[in-house]
């Protein structure tokens, strides 16, 4: 299990010693004097002065205090923290990727355009969509793209009154936030006791104002929306469109396609399903696919192939425009295509099957453990959401405490307090890339925490004990925000902080 280093590592600013340099620059091609107007000249600049070996040691020590997928199981629900194949990195860092400029003549970047075109073909077949844009930088950027497309579609048809987007209460926060950003009113509908969309509530919510519904399937409880065909019928009949949040595509990959279930727009997270690394928060990529009737509204440019050469097509008069500069996070696209080529049809199906097997294995092994309960139906897809509500009621131990105690065992915590409809939620997504032993160890750790909760609750409440720092005071962080070195220095000068 992961053993986190405990360095008392200063800030890079605190390592600064006047005169040290960390990099040597080339000389100018000619030493020409250029006069910058006096009032625009830089007066002072406080950056650290450190040498290259110090920079390297500093960041290595920081790395040693960080947990990644390569450190151990990372079952953050909804995030699909699967193993990131190293071959992907080799190509993402390839000089033929690193050293090409986005405005190069298309004849000089045929390889790059081919990668984008090929990736689009894979994504089309995997999702059952007719065309894709690879431009969005992440899932939420993809959602915004998708709802803007829905907006453009209705406006184009003279249906400006369609200004409502329906979102189930189990939805990820980005869904309502993206819809609101596009100018929609968000209508939230409740889930039923099975954890699925309540059809009656949906019937009542749709009207001539409905622009569409945003759905995640399998949903954020890890449950497959069995009534999906009925849902599609209700929404389409009302004149609305179906948006598929592809965050959970890993649960059905290579088996069934959103396009066949009635979805009109989808986004995919390449940093989840297609193995590109999460980078400590990003970069990811959130390609958006649409059915034929929405192709005209996709962002520009699209990548085309005329049988001989690849080119960028800006000629889309009804396009929503751009949602991100250039063509998206290209180096991420390179990784995803590398992965797809290795996996192939059978590999992708295997991904979903084992991801689902692992999640259900964990569900069954953990089920019945004192303090945790399993709301909603039992059969899950790629993830499961337990509730620590009994533990909280009986012993005052919250999901947060369970999460922190897991860290003591060198294991990453699940996602907690999401989805919002489960109290004290522990949302566990093992992915297909963990072994049976890792699953067993995780279940063991959760069982041990349950035992501790009822015998020695203090040790859980005061966790973590073994990490680089003890439980972090986030209330203080909000009460006294220190966001940058310059703020910190000011507090320090006034003697208001002693850390």
């Amino acid at each position: 299990m992961f053993r986190q280093a405990k360095w008392d590592e200063p800030l890079i600013f605190e390592l600064s010693k006047p005169g040290r340099v960390g990099f040597t620059l080339p000389e100018p091609v000619e030493d020409i004097e250029v006069q910058i107007p006096e009032d625009l000249m830089r007066k002072s600049l406080e950056l650290p002065e450190v040498s290259e070996p110090e920079v390297v040691k500093h960041y290595i020590r920081l790395a040693e205090m960080n947990y990644g997928v390569d450190s151990g199981i990372y079952p953050l629900g909804s995030c699909t923290m699967k193993y990131n194949p190293k071959i992907n990195e080799e190509f993402a860092n390839h000089p033929k990727v690193a050293f090409i400029h986005p405005y190069q003549d298309p004849r000089t970047v045929q390889g790059a355009l081919q990668i984008m075109w090929e990736l689009e073909q894979w994504l089309k077949e995997i999702t059952g969509m007719d065309r894709f844009t690879l431009q969005p930088a992440a899932g939420a950027n993809g959602e915004f793209t998708g709802v803007m497309i829905i907006r453009a579609y209705h406006l184009d048809r003279g249906e400006a009154q369609r200004n409502e987007i329906i979102v189930p209460d189990s939805a990820h926060g980005t869904n309502p936030a993206s819809a609101a950003m596009a100018g929609f009113k968000v209508i939230e509908i409740p889930s039923n006791e099975q954890g699925m969309v309540d059809l009656e509530a949906l019937e009542n919510a749709v009207s001539e104002r409905t622009a569409g519904i945003m759905l995640t399937n399998p949903n954020t409880l890890g449950i497959f929306e069995e009534d999906i065909l009925e849902i599609a019928k209700i929404v389409h009949k009302a004149g609305g469109l179906l948006y598929y949040d592809g965050a959970n595509l890993n649960g059905i990959l290579g088996k069934i396609r959103p396009g066949d279930m009635g979805f009109d727009v989808v986004h995919i997270n390449l940093h989840k399903t297609f193995s590109t690394p999460h980078g400590g928060g990003g970069p990811g990529a959130g390609p958006v696919g649409v059915k034929k009737h929405l192709v005209d509204y996709l962002p520009v440019p699209l990548v085309e192939f005329d049988g001989e050469k690849y080119y960028l097509n800006y000629d889309l008069p009804k396009s929503i425009g751009k949602v991100k500069e250039f063509y998206g996070n290209f180096a991420v696209l390179v990784r995803a295509l590398t992965y797809l080529k290795i996996m192939g049809r059978d590999g992708l199906r295997e991904v979903a099957e084992i991801a689902v097997l692992n999640a259900n294995y964990l569900t069954q092994k953990l089920k019945g453990t004192r303090g945790y309960e399993l709301p909603h139906k039992e059969l899950r897809k790629h993830e499961v959401v337990f509730s620590a509500e009994p533990m909280r009621k009986e012993m005052g131990i919250k999901a947060l405490d369970v999460a922190k105690r897991l860290l003591d065992f060198g294991l990453h915590a699940p996602t907690i307090y999401f989805p919002l409809i489960v109290h004290e939620a522990l949302m566990i997504e093992p992915t297909e890339t963990v072994s049976k032993e890792e699953l067993d160890a995780y279940v063991e750790a959760l069982k041990r925490i349950s035992e501790e909760a009822y015998t020695n609750p203090e040790i859980v409440k005061s966790a973590p004990h073994n990490t680089a720092v003890r439980r972090v005071d986030d209330v203080l962080a909000t009460k006294k925000p220190i966001i940058t070195w310059r703020m910190y220095k000011e507090f320090k000068r006034k003697g208001e902080v002693d850390y």
């Binding site: 999460h278 990003g282 500069e325 972090v472």
Partner: protein, 451 residues
């Protein structure tokens, strides 16, 4: 294929048996029958076969290392120190995610706090977030934020805003009923103050770029800020951070919000992505509350030890949902960390020197370019130089390419009033021989065309 990533492929029966299922299909009994299908996709391949295939595809690219390239226009060839690339490929960084569990993510949290701090020093503002997707989306968020803070719906930008960024901005404000007004440029290729004074009336925000899209340093940036403030508008400055070793911090020039492109430090060109948007603002409650994106703060642990954590989260989508300040969730953390490592390695003198080298190289380039073209404006340029040619620029582009040189970015499709003008750029990576070769070949091409 790809089973080497999936350990439990070898234990299906055993695991199914242990939990009382007969087959994998039982796990999918909730999926509508009839919809499960065989996909029309290629079979998987070995890593070696894919290695060959990807290399073959990529070898069709011609890089800026293989032909002198004078493209800039919002993406620049800078050299990134090797150690930066090594450090961000450390698997604890690259394979981690958003630091939801602070205690086990102190490394990433501190690295991001340092990024915020370094950018804070550069731009002269105290509040910096942990990155937006890129400069363009950061600008879109800034316009929306200005409208929320000022409760007005007009955002004023220069007509010579980067066209790519302008398109992103327009999409971002579309659903918020914000109207974009454009201010023309003057004879120096800079914002026309007289027109700005008119258009800034009732504006929520006024935006200017440093340097601007023509590569020109807006010399009246302070006056632009004053006009914004006289009209009770937020002053938003977009920066290329590589200029900030020689140009005053925008925060000291009156900026309320600074946006920009962090990936100009620490990242390769990568065909335009990933990038990372800088987003910074003043330390004022009304502004912080409306800020988009994740923010890392310094605090302490239960034993009083310094620690870092995500903070001020009540602005964000996972809490506020439809009322959030932005929908952003995943950001560009690793790109931000790369920028931070590059910046820390440069230090104050290095960043100043980088700015000077680029300024001098641009001046030399301009001088040489003026032998074969007319430089469009009399001003100070940084990286980009707009130049007008006697013959249609596409001809020059074509002939240069035949000779193994890549010219600049043709402006006519975006600014027809500029005629046969292209934006050509240099940085600290540009070699003297490249400039010689460009000038010599352009001269020959023009002579040939005029014969």
């Amino acid at each position: 294929m790809g089973k080497h990533y999936i350990p439990n492929s070898a234990h299906k029966e055993e695991m199914l048996g242990e939990i009382g299922f007969k087959s994998i299909e039982d796990l999918f009994s909730d999926v509508p029958k009839g919809f499960v299908k065989e996909f029309n996709l290629p079979e998987g391949k070995s890593e070696y076969e894919v290695f060959l295939e990807m290399n073959e595809i990529l070898n069709k690219n011609k890089t800026v290392l293989e032909m002198p390239t004078f493209l800039g226009a919002g993406a620049y060839f800078h050299y990134v120190p090797a150690h930066v690339k090594h450090l961000i490929e450390r698997s604890e960084f690259i394979t981690s995610y958003t630091p939801y569990q602070a205690e086990i993510s102190q490394g990433m949290l501190q690295a991001l706090f340092e990024y915020q701090s370094l950018i804070g020093e550069l731009v002269g503002l105290e509040i910096v977030n942990a990155s937006m997707y890129d400069w363009g989306t950061a600008l879109g968020e800034a316009a929306r934020m200005a409208a929320r803070v000022k409760k007005k719906n007009k955002f004023v930008v220069p007509k010579h805003i980067h066209p790519e960024r302008n398109m992103v901005l327009k999409t971002f404000v579309e659903g918020a009923d914000i109207e974009i007004e454009y201010v023309k440029w003057n004879e120096k290729g800079q914002v026309d103050l007289e027109e700005l004074k008119e258009k800034a009336k009732n504006a929520a925000g006024v935006y200017v770029e440093l340097p601007n899209f023509f590569g020109i340093i807006e010399e009246q940036i302070k006056e632009i800020g004053e006009i914004a403030h006289e009209n009770d508008a937020l002053f938003v400055v977009g920066v290329d951070p590589t200029i900030l070793g020689i140009i005053e911090a925008p925060g000291s020039l009156g900026a309320d919000i600074v946006v920009g492109e962090a990936s100009f430090l620490g990242s390769a060109l990568n065909f335009g992505g990933p990038r990372a948007g800088i987003f910074a603002t003043k330390n004022e409650r009304a502004l912080i509350r409306q800020m988009p994106g994740r923010i890392i703060g310094m605090t302490r642990d239960t034993e009083g030890k310094r620690a870092f954590v995500m903070t001020l989260q009540t602005r964000e989508q996972h809490i506020r949902r439809a009322k959030a300040t932005s929908n952003i969730c995943s950001n560009e953390a690793l790109v931000a960390v790369a920028a931070a490592i590059h910046l820390a390695s440069l230090g104050p003198k290095g960043l100043e020197k980088l700015g000077e080298i680029i300024l001098k190289n641009t001046a030399y380039f301009k001088k040489r370019l003026s032998e074969v073209a007319e430089i469009s404006f009399d001003a100070i340029n940084f990286k980009d130089v707009p130049a007008t040619f006697e013959i249609p620029y596409p001809i020059i582009h074509e002939r240069l390419l035949e000779r193994g040189i890549h010219g600049g970015f043709y402006l006519k499709p975006y600014f027809p009033e500029l005629g046969e003008t292209a934006l050509l750029a240099v940085t600290e990576t540009t070699r003297r021989e490249w400039i010689e070769a460009l000038v010599k070949n352009v001269r020959e091409i023009i002579n040939e065309a005029e014969l």
